[in-house]
């Protein structure tokens, strides 16, 4: 017979430990809340207050807004922005839906290949498609005739460039929605002798409607807030994002820049609120008992699907390929021999090779600090926070960045951190502030990923830990980190890639010794060095793809692949 006789731990020691636990998680939660307030909320407040002040900082109410709406060229930009947003949304959602439908509802071959290729634009800065379009359809473009005399510099170029760049974002959302179609419903439709279009409308579209709506709002937000494409290929066609840049960098008119920023916030906020509403609806209609849907075998549909996806993929590859190709050409279009001259960045203005290494450092810093901070904040909030008001405050602050355009965030950071009396002023002009602004800019998606990951971890684990006198810290190390590894790894890559490719927030914040690669693309293009700009954009994309490969090796193979408990069956 086994004897169970080991002394109990003394209660007083355990009590002491409990008190310490309360202390550090409570303090940590306060610190993260304060950090979110400082790096997200206060700068935005600053933008709004500048919009309500004159050049000398005196409060003038809405008089700046009156000036704004009395200026025809500025109001025209608002109109342009909204029309570009609507057109891009229409094209992106149509194309992404066709592509996702082909991958989920037909038996076309090479699905994995096409799925992976659809994500390619994510790895490039939005400047890359714009530059490629200049080479394809610009004044010396190889396919110039295709436009029948119309100019690529303007709405046409902006719409094509943005459609390329936003495509993967819409595709991912719609693909997920279409994948969740319930096979049973198709069987039911067949048994009712419903025709193709009837089934398509009442089953496929109806099931994917929230995903489609969400894709619409996300695409619209990205289109109205993007800066890179419009800057490179917009020509005389002004949009709100380029207006902010002109007001601030060109005319040093910070008050008017802020007004445009606040105006730009409105469509983004609206779109964001609509998307949240849709997401809430969607969650409540998901059904765990759905069976997977297997499309019928049909040569015709497979053929059409393959043709459609191939066409889209070829377009994506052509755009990427054009930029890459142009970057290796000696002197477009007169001397088409290969050369690496365009990669001698140190010979051009814009930041040189240093800007590339700055970007690498900044993106690494963003990914490391961001992943740790957002993970810990989400964990404290989801699992240690006992105060409902504090919890909601953190959740709310975490959602704000999604609704704030990068240009507005960048502007907010100048105002806030450039004040000499701000104790954080030392950050101004450093790589650190670039990293922090990127973390703030891309915060929401990361926070939501971690929240979802924690939702899958039973709260009873923490209660077991309590019953055997183990601390929150032990739980973090022993359970939360290993179980959340897939989310941690994808957040890390997401932050790295976005920090490498973003222009909008950082364009206001870099200093001469902290120039970034993406900003260098912009500046070289501005200076007419379009081939080196293509080269730098290519370099950024290749770096992001390499990061994806290294990331796959480290996380998926070496870490998650070794967590055999994830897959090992009985």
């Amino acid at each position: 017979m086994t004897s169970i006789s080991i002394a109990q731990p003394s209660n007083s020691k355990a009590a002491q430990r409990k008190r310490l636990t309360i202390k550090w998680t409570g303090i940590a939660a306060l610190v993260t809340l304060a950090a979110l307030a400082i790096f997200v909320l206060l700068p935005l407040v600053e933008v709004v207050s500048r919009a309500l002040a004159d050049k000398d900082g005196n409060f003038v109410g809405i008089s700046n807004f009156i000036t704004y709406f009395q200026s025809p060229s500025l109001v025209n930009s608002l109109f342009n922005t909204l029309s570009i947003g609507l057109m891009v949304t229409f094209f992106v959602v149509t194309l992404a839906f066709s592509y996702a439908y082909a991958l989920t509802h037909t038996r076309m071959p090479f699905k994995g290949f096409f799925r992976a290729l659809a994500m390619l634009p994510i790895f490039a800065p939005s400047l890359l498609p714009a530059i490629a379009l200049v080479y394809l359809f610009g004044n010396q473009g190889i396919l110039k005739e295709w436009l029948f005399g119309a100019s690529i510099y303007g709405p046409i170029g902006i719409v094509i460039g943005m459609t390329f760049w936003i495509f993967p974002h819409a595709f991912m959302i719609i693909y997920t929605a279409l994948q969740q179609n319930d096979g049973r419903l198709y069987e039911a439709a067949t048994s009712c002798k419903a025709g193709f279009w009837h089934t398509f409308y009442s089953v496929t579209l109806s099931n994917a409607r929230y995903g489609l709506l969400s894709a619409v709002f996300v695409s619209f937000t990205l289109a109205v807030t993007d800066f890179g494409v419009a800057k490179v290929i917009g020509g005389q066609y002004d949009v709100l994002a380029t207006d902010i840049y002109k007001q601030v960098i060109g005319q040093q008119n910070f008050a008017m820049g802020s007004v445009v920023g606040v105006v730009l916030l409105l469509p983004a906020l609206f779109s964001f609120a609509a998307d949240r509403w849709v997401q809430k609806k969607q969650q409540s209609t998901l059904n765990a008992k759905s069976t997977p849907f297997t499309p019928e075998k049909s040569w015709l549909t497979s053929g059409v699907a393959l043709a459609t996806t191939s066409l889209i993929t070829i377009t994506l590859l052509t755009i990427v390929g054009m930029a890459v190709y142009a970057s290796f050409i000696k002197f477009w279009p007169y001397n088409l021999s290969f050369s690496l001259n365009n990669y001698q960045f140190d010979l051009m203005d814009g930041g040189g090779w240093e800007s590339y290494f700055n970007s690498l450092k900044m993106a690494t810093l963003t990914a490391m600090i961001g992943t740790v901070f957002i993970f810990v904040t989400a964990w404290l909030n989801e699992r240690c926070q006992t105060n409902a008001i504090m919890r909601q405050a953190v959740d709310f602050l975490s959602m704000i960045p999604m609704a704030v355009p990068g240009m507005v965030l960048g502007l907010a950071y100048i105002f806030f951190f450039n004040q000499p009396n701000n104790p954080l002023n030392f950050m101004y002009g450093t790589l650190l502030i670039l990293a922090v602004s990127s973390i703030a800019h891309f915060y929401t998606v990361c926070h939501l990923s971690f929240k979802t990951a924690f939702k899958q971890i039973d709260k009873e684990f923490d209660q077991v830990a309590l019953s055997v006198n183990r601390s929150r810290w032990d739980m973090l190390v022993k359970l939360y980190i290993p179980l959340s590894m897939p989310a941690i790894s994808s957040v890390f890559l997401y932050l790295f890639v976005n920090a490498m490719t973003t222009v909008s927030a950082v364009v206001f914040l870099y200093a001469s010794d902290t120039a970034l690669a993406s900003v260098a693309v912009l500046n070289m293009d501005d200076a007419g060095d379009i081939a080196p700009a293509a080269a730098m954009a290519t370099l950024i994309m290749v770096t992001c793809l390499a990061a994806k490969a290294v990331h796959w090796l480290i996380f998926d193979v070496l870490i998650i692949g070794r967590q055999t408990w994830r897959t090992a069956g009985a």
């Binding site: 086994t2 080991i6 109990q8 209660n11 006198n469 032990d474 408990w565």
Partner: protein
Amino acid sequence: MSYLNIKNVSKSFGSKEVLSNINLDIQQGELVCFLGPSGCGKTTLLRIIAGLEQQNSGTLTQAGHDISSLPAIDRDYGIVFQSYALFPNLTVSKNIAFALKSLKLAKSEQKKRIEELLELVGLADHKNKHPNQLSGGQQQRVALARALALNPGLLLLDEPLSALDAKVRQFLRGEIKKLQQRLGVTTIMVTHDQEEALAMADRIVVMNHGCIEQVGTPEDIYQRPISKFVADFIGSINFFDNDQFAIRPEHISLSLSASEKSRAVEVAAVEYLGSFTRFTVKDEHGLYTVDIDSNEASAMAHANTLHMHWLNEHVLNMQGAA
């Protein structure tokens, strides 16, 4: 003096009262089942005992100490949840080692202790497996071993068997009971399965709508239910004479021929349930459920009219019961 004393404990979530004025004494070494329909507050009461939930009023005393406002981490108990909450990323022995950490044992001692515990629940061969390599019943026993690791004064089990197949459940009932008796650990088990409670408990606490209906041994509860609710919830029962009297289905006999005290009934339905057969019969007052050993029942299965009979000593007097 009792080991655990619960006095005037009440609990509300918002405006909804979930437990009202609970009073209960639990003796050292006994196995007590909280039994009641889903939502009646069993889990809440268990969580209050563990300190995972704070009562609105009332006091708890464990082993002579007032634990009413002691935080969970300072209380002396081990707990097993319905989901087991085994760390999926840790092996069986590491799951148990997790619980042992606060004892700060030397490595060899800890190893010995883990082996003891696994021996105790019959899983010594599985110590290096991960939870997903174990069956549900094995996972349940690992959770039990982990809950016992710190040698707690009180073992709390919240529906520990309800996620398992009927066969495994029956086997583990016996195993848990044996283990509990061997260790002599005071145990509270929450269940909504009356059969489980009858089979395992030294005493059963029947709960309904946040109140304790009756506390007693399984025999007490089954043979002397003090309320209609208890009589109805534990086993099946027939009420008659305006609900003033009741009788269990197995205490009624049926035969093809009439006898002195029998009355004729019409057969409304026959349900074959393996070892016994359940007849639903009808007289002018209403329906009765009658359980007959299947060996005897086969002869009567096709009859339209039968003769029903019972002994008065089996009739429960429900006059005055709630």
